[in-house]
């Protein structure tokens, strides 16, 4: 027959065991999130988590990511060039790297010429990059607008210190001598922005949203708990403390069983 001390120890042991189970069950979800996101984050490069982007509307809405209301857009021939934040599109297709400040686009001698990021992009009609003209290659700096001199068949840019026209190969730029005259204003067709068609605007908006939030960011926020709002980190902290208690109570239970 067990004595009083043995009975007291038995009650304590059962109590620790019960608490161990409750703690384990309550921390299970957080531990799963921590473990899965932790493993994934340890292999960010091979899994390419930083170059894959979240497409889920629910998550994007949760992060407050919205497409710009009125992206700047130019029509060049039958093509549409649009800058959405830092992403440049030829119709629906994204072109290359990140850009800023779109100041015009024209179709010139069957080439698309786009003034963006203070450079001129020369593209084939199919969107293949021919050359990126920069001020280091003689292009005038501070391009404000771009146009075509329809009388002379020349490409014209208005730079910070005046108007320039290029030769046929876009290798040399010369200041325009008849700037400001009636003849000048009559013959240059300057590129002007035009409103984007509703369907294309919607498509580009969806595309833009789907290229903003890397999967890695969401995993990091899940791992830290920030994904769940301001209380999230505290919940994850609590889960960490519970894990600590589980380790202690588990060890204590194991020692008691052995003893």
């Amino acid at each position: 027959m067990p004595n009083r001390r043995q009975e007291k120890n038995g009650v304590k042991w059962r109590s620790v065991h019960t608490w161990h189970r409750y703690l384990g069950a309550s921390a299970a979800l957080c531990v799963l999130i921590l473990a899965i996101t932790g493993i994934a984050l340890n292999h960010t490069e091979p899994l390419e988590l930083d170059s894959h982007y979240v497409q889920s509307d629910w998550i994007l809405d949760r992060y407050g990511i919205q497409a710009p209301l009125e992206p700047l857009s130019y029509r060049a021939g039958d093509r549409r060039i649009t800058l959405t934040e830092d992403q440049l599109y030829l119709d629906r297709r994204k072109i290359g790297e990140s850009y800023r400040q779109l100041t015009g686009a024209v179709l010139f001698n069957e080439l698309l010429v786009i003034a963006v990021s203070d450079n001129l992009l020369l593209l084939t009609r199919h969107g293949e990059l021919i050359e990126r003209l920069q001020d280091t290659g003689g292009l005038p700096g501070g391009i404000k607008r771009i146009g075509v001199d329809t009388a002379k068949g020349l490409l014209v840019v208005e730079a910070s210190d005046g108007q320039y026209q290029s030769d046929a190969d876009f290798l040399h730029w010369q200041p325009r001598t008849d700037r400001g005259t009636d003849r000048d204003s009559a013959t240059i067709a300057w590129a002007v922005p035009t409103p984007l068609e509703a369907t294309l605007k919607s498509t580009l908006g969806d595309h833009f949203r789907g290229e903003v939030l890397p999967v890695e960011r969401v995993l990091l926020d899940l791992h830290s708990g920030r994904f769940f709002g301001s209380a999230g980190p505290w919940i994850m902290d609590a889960a960490a403390v519970i894990l600590l208690l589980l380790a202690l109570s588990g060890s204590w239970t194991w020692f008691k069983r052995r003893g």
Partner: protein, 174 residues
């Protein structure tokens, strides 16, 4: 103030690379002015179309991002400013080719966070007088730099491309 100075000094002692890391080492136009003694010839262009495009794609392992490349010729010397991605960012490099051999290699802009050691002459001097063999490969072995493997690879590819384009330009201009 003294503690700030000490902190900066300590950081520089611990991480000397902070002093030497990537950036713009020389503007391309300054490079051209230097190599042509201030008299930069008119730029010319070579188109990467047809078989030329295929060869360049083979040399780089991918398509060159543009369809035409500028170069500058003075007698038998040609200058090329080319770009190739090391890991994620393009490395801008200037090449001077003289009679089919590399005369000068200079890294002008390095945008990556690692591998900037390729800018130093102990590495670029290895390309001196290199030319293309019949397999369109450099005729010598270029020793790598540990920790800069991708940048080294990018520069070797660009050197081969510059030599090939020089051949093409000379054939066309002859």
């Amino acid at each position: 103030m003294l503690s700030v100075n000490r902190t900066v000094l300590l950081l520089l002692l611990l991480f000397p690379g902070m002093l030497l890391a990537g950036g713009v080492y020389q503007e391309p136009e300054d490079f051209l002015a230097e190599v042509f003694n201030g008299e930069v010839p008119e730029a010319q262009v070579i188109w990467l179309t047809g078989p030329r495009k295929e060869v360049v794609t083979q040399l780089l392992g991918h398509r060159y991002p543009s369809l035409r490349v500028r170069y500058w010729r003075q007698g038998q010397r040609t200058a090329w400013i080319l770009e190739e991605i090391g890991k994620t960012e393009p490395i801008t490099t200037g090449f001077i080719i003289n009679e089919g051999r590399i005369d000068t290699v200079k890294v002008l802009v390095f945008r990556e966070s690692r591998g900037w050691e390729i800018r130093h002459s102990f590495f670029t001097d290895q390309f001196d007088q290199a030319r293309l063999n019949e397999q369109r490969q450099l005729d010598r072995t270029i020793d790598g730099i540990s920790g800069a493997t991708l940048s080294v690879r990018a520069l070797k590819k660009l050197a081969a491309m510059a030599l090939y384009l020089d051949q093409q330009a000379r054939q066309r201009d002859a």
